[in-house]
């Protein structure tokens, strides 16, 4: 019983972060059918900005975090305007490869500015929220889950409330058709890139508050698992992204709890999650939740 509770708590805590990353992957994907491979590094860059403002410039925590998110959004929008917009006719994979450059560039800037010494930002919420059967659940963890769920609901429902939001949802199906109803496609695309990067910063701020320290490139594993969550949920499905991210977190926690101690090889949970990814891609490429194939 205690085992199960541990798995659930660890799984949901990690899964929440994966879900946020999955959400940011899907957000960008919907606007331009591109996987932004720089998301987590841009997220980490935003985290660095927040940390610097808070630690060095003594800006209040909430404002520092807000500015970090704003920095991420700016990078996303700039990249869309300067690069993605010029690649309207290029293969989608080529645009994804271009994001690799952004990832490496942000990584380089972080390294030059800060080096590999670990930094830490204070958690958004202090202390233990409650205990389940003795297992402590941190306030931050509860807060992260609340943020992820709220953002997912906000993105799926609030977008439907405005004309612009509808254009964002419609763009996933056919960008040209969006232009033909007179909606500004470029703004839709810029929005999805900005929102994706902003979400990634939020994810990294929350993940840092559970792992306590960060260095440039610390989010690689988080990105892969979030990306897998996005694919498992069906790339392009916002709700599916949250479910996929949580599923990946739970699978990882379950393997760590019940399998890894009995196997004399490292990385079992990553291998398992990778296996899940392959199985989903080969058997249900449209994702677990999406009803029909396109």
């Amino acid at each position: 019983m205690r085992d199960l509770i541990d798995v659930l708590v660890f799984g949901i805590v990690a899964g929440t972060i994966y879900a946020l990353i999955a959400l940011s992957v899907v957000m960008t994907y919907r606007g331009s059918r591109v996987i932004n491979l720089a998301l987590v590094e841009v997220g980490t860059g935003g985290l660095f900005v927040s940390w610097w403002l808070w630690e060095k410039a003594h800006v209040p925590y909430v404002i520092a975090c807000g500015l970090g998110v704003a920095a991420g959004v700016t990078v996303g929008v700039l990249f869309e305007r300067l690069v993605v917009a010029r690649m309207a006719d290029a293969e989608r994979l080529a645009v994804s490869v271009a994001t690799v450059g952004v990832s490496l560039a942000v990584f380089g800037i972080e390294n030059i500015a800060s080096g590999q010494s670990p930094r830490s930002l204070r958690p958004p919420v202090h202390g233990i929220a409650f205990r389940i059967d003795g297992a402590p659940v941190l306030g931050t963890q509860v807060f992260s889950l609340a943020v992820a769920v709220t953002l997912a609901l906000l993105l799926t429902n609030a977008l439907r409330r405005s004309d612009f939001g509808l254009a964002v949802l419609a763009a996933a199906q056919d960008p040209d058709a969006v232009r033909l109803v007179g909606a500004p496609l470029w703004r839709v695309s810029a929005f999805t890139w900005g929102a994706g990067c902003g979400l990634a910063v939020i994810a990294m701020i929350l993940s840092e508050s559970t792992v306590a320290t960060f260095v440039p490139g610390f989010g690689g594993r988080i990105f892969v698992l979030g990306l897998i969550g996005a694919v498992v949920g069906g790339l392009g499905d916002l709700r599916g992204a949250v479910v996929g991210g949580l599923a990946v977190g739970l699978a990882e926690a379950a393997v760590n709890q019940w399998v890894s101690p009995h196997v004399d090889v490292g990385g079992v949970s990553t291998v398992t999650v990778g296996g899940v990814l392959l199985a989903v891609l080969l058997l249900r490429p449209q994702g677990l939740l999406t009803r029909a194939a396109r």
């Binding site: 439907r160 004309d163 509808l166 254009a167 949802l169 419609a170 996933a172 199906q173 056919d174 040209d176 058709a177 969006v178 232009r179 033909l180 109803v181 007179g182 909606a183 500004p184 496609l185």
Partner: protein, 253 residues
């Protein structure tokens, strides 16, 4: 005859090394339905994309209501009064009927909220079925209903000009019939329409004027009533097979 609403003069366009349109001339008078006909590869759909602003014209001028729109973006042209019924009844499948129609009114609502809501009410009146199903996801509707929705989505922006791209292509015959019915119903309501079509029966039934394209150039252009059936038949590659039928379709059999 009033001044043309759409004027395409000397338009040349293509992709990469290929030039598809060679100096195309076309005018659409206010309140009329202009048909553009031709075989596959004649350049019909490229012409439609040039008019829509999805493919740039290499040379030549496009005017909408006297205004030069050659360099305008597709969005700006919609704001200036164009609407589109894209090929293959492309509605937004993941969105509801009401959401599809809201997107159709995107440009108008920014200009005039009240006009947008009264246009929506009119469209619902014209298509009572859509009014009943406004919260249904568009992708779950039948082909004919989606076709009606794609026409309704174009109308809801109160356009000056509706561009209809190959309405019959890729549709089951019964669906094409329903689409034809939706479009025919617009006749006489003062709507101006540019129609690109390969299916003669479909096109000739709707159009007031016909422009015949062959390998990217205009071979003939004039009122449907004055069309020479033999010319039409030979240009469309149906030859002696159907020239008699074409004459009938033109009402001169």
């Amino acid at each position: 005859m009033s001044a043309p609403l759409l004027e395409v003069s000397g338009v040349t366009a293509g992709f990469g090394p290929t030039t598809v349109l060679h100096g195309v001339e076309l005018t659409v008078a206010e309140g009329t339905i202009a048909g553009v006909f031709g075989l596959n590869g004649a350049g019909k759909s490229v012409l439609m994309k040039v008019v829509a602003g999805l493919v740039p014209a290499r040379s030549g001028v496009l005017r909408l209501d006297g205004r030069d729109i050659t360099r305008s973006s597709a969005e700006a042209r919609v704001r200036a009064g164009m609407a589109h019924v894209p090929q293959g009844r492309q509605v937004f499948r993941e969105l509801t009927v009401a959401e599809n129609l809201r997107l159709g009114g995107y440009a108008l609502r920014r200009r005039d909220r009240e006009a947008a809501s009264s246009a929506l009410a009119e469209v619902y009146e014209r298509f009572p079925l859509l009014a009943q199903r406004r919260s249904q996801i568009a992708g779950t509707m039948s082909g004919g209903q989606q076709a009606a929705l794609s026409v309704a989505r174009a109308l809801v922006g109160r356009p000056r000009l509706i561009c209809v791209d190959e309405p019959s292509a890729g549709l089951a015959p019964s669906v094409a019939q329903e689409l034809l019915a939706s479009l025919s119903a617009l006749r006489g309501s003062g709507v101006t329409m540019l129609l690109v079509e390969q299916n003669l029966a479909f096109g000739l039934r709707l159009a007031d004027t016909a422009t015949l394209l062959q390998t990217g150039a205009v071979m003939h252009s004039g009122p449907v009533a004055d069309l020479d059936p033999d010319l039409l038949a030979s240009l469309l590659g149906v030859g002696r097979l159907v020239s008699g039928q074409v004459a009938k379709a033109l009402g001169r059999g």
